[in-house]
Amino acid sequence: MGLAGLILRDVRKAFGTTPILDGVSLETGEREFIAFLGPSGSGKSTLLRIIAGLETADSGQVLLDCERIDNRPPGERGVAMVFQAYALYPHMSVRDNMAFGLRNARVPESDIAERIADAARILEIEPLLDRKPAQLSGGQRQRVAIGRAIVKSPKLFLLDEPLSNLDAALRLRTRVELAQLRQRVEAVVIMVTHDQAEAMTLADRIVVINDRCVQQVGAPMEVYSRPANRFVARFVGSPAMTILAAELVPGDGPAKIKLGDGSEIATRVARDGLPSGELEIGFRPESVHVAADGPIKATIILVERLGERTLVYCQLADGTPITAEDGGMSALAIGDKVSLAIDGTRAHLFGPDGTAFHASASI
């Protein structure tokens, strides 16, 4: 159970009259990797900084390992942070960068040397220990920043957009390394990111934050396949889920939906729980296929060839955009008229307030 991890209780924060966080609560497991995922301005970085002690919450509690830490200064919380721009001390060598926090904490020098040697071995930065940050590449600085966090053996790692300053190739490699590193550290790891692929691949659980609130907390595939609401459905997954206006066809059994162009889709969403009022239906590209006998007519506006599959961006007769998938060797071209078949069993419905309804597992 999450008692030994990080606990947030009703954390609130406003800058002046602008609310930033509106009562955030969260409990993590003992060695869990959590991703705070949200668009910029969602409050996710502020939440991370409140946990680190770089911002103070207006109200609420932060507990780590069953102790309240929100009233302690940043250095005494048992927390280490890797900054987005690394924040290495430019005039200190890599070794001194890593030793700085330990010396301030009056750790014996022999102990410091041992910890730095260990971290340097794990991160493969041993040859760099006597260099200055300016003499390092972006990826090397990243490792040093992680090393500076590791040597403190914190109970909680905070990573602020750790991959955003790296180029694409290095980002993928570092992502793998972070995943491996994660197996070695005995701590909760919290990573802030706006990149859903990073969150999906690294985290045990994703905390989707938007509009000052936690929108959903769940394992990556849970957030992907059963998004709590319209925002999560659109934000997680790339390309984004297609969402269309829908009308409930009266009848029995699972909800049947009529689209704007008159075509009907049988879903597996239970009819009972659905709210009255306007509905929307959403499906991911992988449940929309180009098929000669498909009931839905559309015009192609963009074709994206990804190799193993092809993404086809289309427009329905009434102008609404829809994203479909085709095989890797697809011969489709922009301007083609195509027919689309929608796999209604994997469709999601959204109520007027954005709440999502999913296929019942029992059917």
Partner: protein, 290 residues
Amino acid sequence: MRDRRSLSGFAFVAPFLLLYGFLQLYPLLRGIIISLRREDLFGGGHFIGLANYTELLGDPVFGQAVLNTLLVTLMIVPPLTIIALLLALALNNATRSSAIFRGLFFSSSVLSVTIVTLIWRFVLTPDAGLVGEALKAAGHAPLPFLSDAHLVLPAIAITTIWWSIGLPMILFLAGLQQIPADMYEAAALDRSSRWTTLWKITLPALRRTTLLVVMLQTAGQLQLFGQSQLLTAGGPGGASRTMVLFIYETAFVRWQLGYAAAGAEILFVMILMVTLIQYVTINRDSEGAR
């Protein structure tokens, strides 16, 4: 083709080169030539080689002027640098009062030397001046700042520090603004005390700014002139005569243009040396950091 390209290159830098040559190089060369001649302000004169220089080296008045200049520079530069740094550290925040104080401390820099010396004459005058009254109130005899040979250089130094505090303060503030905020956040997470943060983060980051301030001020104060001319006219008994004042008096009071030019060349070499030290130190510094 290549000639045309280099020609058009020269055309682009020509305006600068002409101005630079006319306003900087020509006077410099002309000064060197004059310093090798016995020359009067009203024409006439002849080449005498290094005679002006050998005479200067034996001239006790010039010797004292050099000594005075070095002393007053030493009295000004270290305290000026430290005070400017402390002010910058204290005023490096976004509050309204800091903005007001930044303006106040900088305001003295916009005054002309005449106003500055006028103000400080009032402050330093023994019988009615601010300092004199303060000393009297404390039961102490007022000090004759401007007529005591031992007090006159410190008095000029204080006046100069008050006058020139603005620029170094702004330079330090600019240096402080360059330190990224996340550096301090990292230090906070590293349990760094305020004192440790100042010594290990802030001051090392200000190294180059400090060097710049010290060198600029040294080069500037070696040319100190107006304060000593207007406060004391170099007195009492030459105790506050600086090198530039000596050069000025020689050229425009005693009309010995060649002799004055030789003094100016010696000052030029002194300032050049200070600048070279700065250049070498900064270059070595940046090689070490990168």
